[in-house]
Symmetry: C2
Subunit: 244 residues, 2 copies
């Protein structure tokens, strides 16, 4: 499994992905699922991937090998808008489906792929999309300013409680890390290192781009405080008078 | 969907179920999913149900209409052990499968059913089982002293953090209610009223058996305190020094 989370807030965007892949429990490995495209001065595009690794790697490879093209329908750096970038990414997913879909079907495998595509082109607004296996996509809005892909449920409650478009970037980043902590606690198939990218609004550059390993002091301190705090909060809850 | 939770602790057992059923979003109703069998002096059996309502209601009907039988392979009150009760329940699921399985298949419906079966016979130990659609079952242990069925993921993190076999009944009950709160926050298809049953060890009787409605003062106070406490705990987390 996988867990990836992208947020689009007034102050900027936050992207976090885990790096565990598994094909059965005896084939567990670490692969990057977060890709930053910042080779053109006027824009930044961040893509997070979940699903069949062969599919998502192919999609990223197609996008990478076309970066130098000046065809706006093929290159992330030539596309005229974030909407076009989402469509271009969806089209790359469809290309891979053309190539692999029927073969996967013959082997009883689903064509599973889901991508979070976010970014900003200079002078335009930040946009965040969720691109599906069929190549179609939806966009994050004020009401739902984030997308999760992969193992989404364990980490959703804290986001629903904390996140609004007005949440500052540092708070949103902590919220994302707590969400990953809840997921990692509950599901073996999601694990560090975590790849974290923060893109402040109207900068078109990542202000933070780090990999958080299992032994990262801040990450461990956060997990410890959160776990102990939850415990203390729980212990403080009043007893029901009917449960004596 | 549905969420049901059963716990087997040193001090006794706790069972909680929601009561929302839905067949599509335009067919939402309230049905009890928690059944207490305490008509024999020497035992109590509690069954929680998830899955296709027609299947689980049939299973409960079969069990109910055989309560007066003195055949230990048919009556919950005549069975010699909790293990036999789990098997007898599994056999009832298999009977319903014989009757309905092929018809459901013809209509493209899965034979979906999952039950939590717990209780105690006087002089013997408390036991808790999860009975599957195939009629087979597993038992809760010291390592995993609880079972969840239905919409299990949102509410799992708090249980994993708090619950051990040594947890007192009142704490376990609060843990269960917080777990339901997280689930209800995140999933529209799980909703109050909640049916709650507490069975202290070696009593063979429910000490608490209540229905918690949406407007229950304790439930609302618990939810408010938990939500505000999480918020405060979150706000207290230190900022990472790399996120400036």
């Amino acid at each position: 499994m996988t867990y990836c989370l992208g947020m689009r807030l007034d102050a900027g965007m936050v992207f976090v992905s885990d790096s565990r892949t598994n094909a059965g429990v005896d084939s567990v490995a670490t692969f990057r699922k977060s890709f930053v495209f910042d080779g053109a001065e006027d824009r930044i595009v961040v893509i997070l991937t979940a699903g069949n690794l062969a599919i998502t790697q192919s999609v990223i490879s197609l996008l990478e090998e076309r970066l130098d093209s000046d065809d706006p329908a093929r290159s992330l750096y030539a596309a005229g808008s974030m909407y076009d970038i989402a469509r271009l990414t969806g089209n790359a997913v469809r290309e891979v489906f053309q190539e692999d879909g029927e073969h996967l079907r013959q082997h009883g495998s689903e064509f599973a792929a889901s991508l979070i595509v976010g970014g900003q082109i200079k002078g335009r607004r930040m946009r965040l999309f969720n691109v599906y296996a069929a190549g179609n996509f939806i966009e994050a809005t004020e009401d739902t300013p984030y997308f999760q892909i992969g193992e989404t449920k364990y980490g959703k409650p804290i986001i629903e409680r904390v996140l609004t478009p007005a949440t500052p970037l540092v708070q949103a980043t902590k919220c994302a890390l707590v969400s990953f902590d809840s997921t990692i606690q509950s599901n073996l198939s999601v694990a560090p290192p975590l790849d974290l990218v923060i893109v402040p609004a109207d900068t078109q550059r990542a202000s933070v781009r780090i990999r958080i390993a299992d032994d990262d002091p801040y990450w461990n301190d956060l997990r410890r405080r959160w776990g102990q705090g939850l415990r203390a909060l729980f212990d403080d809850l009043p007893d029901p008078d009917w449960a004596l």
